[in-house]
Subunit: 331 residues, 2 copies
Amino acid sequence: MHVMITGAAGFLGQRLTEALIDKGSLNGQPLSRLTLLDQIEAPRPEAASCLAVEPATSLDVAIIAGDIADAEVLDRCLAGEPQVIYHLAAVVSSAAEADLALGMRVNFDATRLLLEGCAARGLNGTRLVMASSVAAYGGDLPETLGDMTALVPQNSYGTQKAMSELLINDYSRRGLVDGCVLRLPTIIVRPGRPNAAASSFASSILREPLNGEDAICPVPTELEMFVMSPRRVVAALIKGAEVHSAAFGLSRCFMLPGITVSVAEMLKALADIAGEQALALVKHEPDPRITAIVGSWPARFDTRKARSLGFAGDADLADIVTAYQQENTET
Amino acid sequence: MHVMITGAAGFLGQRLTEALIDKGSLNGQPLSRLTLLDQIEAPRPEAASCLAVEPATSLDVAIIAGDIADAEVLDRCLAGEPQVIYHLAAVVSSAAEADLALGMRVNFDATRLLLEGCAARGLNGTRLVMASSVAAYGGDLPETLGDMTALVPQNSYGTQKAMSELLINDYSRRGLVDGCVLRLPTIIVRPGRPNAAASSFASSILREPLNGEDAICPVPTELEMFVMSPRRVVAALIKGAEVHSAAFGLSRCFMLPGITVSVAEMLKALADIAGEQALALVKHEPDPRITAIVGSWPARFDTRKARSLGFAGDADLADIVTAYQQENTET
């Protein structure tokens, strides 16, 4: 099994690479080859050398630093005829909003080049799994969204993802590639430090107090979000390679089963697990700009399609928080 | 007022050109210039010379034969800084299905080039009115569709139109152009002869008997369609240039207010207007292929957005049929 990952140096790309190596197979076939593409060199996975000890499970890892929107770079990756492609490379929403041409090039043109490259090489059996986003939703939304709710994105990142979704669906319908688009909920708890993303606080108000540090909550505690843990997102990406093509029906694109939580519930989970002294580290400093952005994101979804295909969400917030603690005990 | 029309040599392009010249103005400004682009030369509008008699309303008509997806051709058109662009050029659904690259080039890349061209020339006040289609809908549809029903097209033409819609919405949101996308119902009664379109019968079963000729009805009479007359579509295109930008809200794309009619109702209108001898000219020869295609098109829409913006539909089928008779008395 040859798996290619775009955006392999990113947070999800690295987590997925590790998970695939730990699993040792995908869709019942031994993992034999990884092609890791990103604009910088993705870190060489640590476990790869261990696997290489046993010849029957030797793993060939190609790490390629290059421009995802350069047809020659993509063609070099596709020449190895990957059976599964994880398309995670993206310019994030703030950058796509600041530079329309860059966002179009990376978030849309690269997807199109990937599809055209697969079609040109006859890779019609290749499963292309793309990560899309809740940012593709917008407009006059109902209280609970379903997979037949229109995508009326109010940002260029969401527009470019929605266009990519349409193209993957059409190429799949025509039998030119075997696509699957997973719309990701907001991922919590991300490791590391706070960043410029409007949703950064959602990880920060849990992560920092768990590490004994102060955190700022910029939104009202009644605000709701639709969230999923990193390990469930990675499990969903793996599942995305394993769903039978016929099971998708008329659309390859759907929202993953996140859970709807209020900020108040997030803070209660923090207090339950780490005590009142952890909760006391969260300072409330309302920020109307962040509240407006995050408050515009839908938080309630009917995800029956994803569930019927076998995708699973987190049990509850306690599950998400304890998973973060377990995964980060050595740091 | 400088108006540019792509697809100007087509049925709708010609009807719109005539209507604009008859009206003599658009959005309260005298029509001074027309740029008519198509792959073949659009016919020179007859009334233009009459208007030119009166210097105050002289009309400069530029007829350009060229490739809509050629940036140089488009730039030549945009150099005149049109205040309204009607983007009607398209490769129709059967051709887009037969040739993916051609459909992408004409139905999507040309739209993108138009948008990028407007942005590059600073034409952010230019109203771009694009015709989209019921073919953009598909998938697991509800019984009555609304403007927040997802576009899950099951054909490449609909995919390319849906992608163009997203891009026009994003360029409009960013203030780079002032877009408006009208999703057209099935147009009846088209003049002329039957053609290869699956929907051709819908005009044919009215038009041919009205002209004393036989027609074939290939679908069950209980089949429903969502229809609009040519004159109402042209009126909607004109209205599309006149709606205030602020009135669109979060989406520039919506279905026009067609009317839902069954084939039985169409045949009853024919009998009411032209008598039982006209009805007797319609032969019923079921065609499962046409029934499958047309039967998959949604026929019931909640069009409150279009109506609230001032777009009007036909009163009823009798209105549609008598309008065809009036418009075609000289032929």
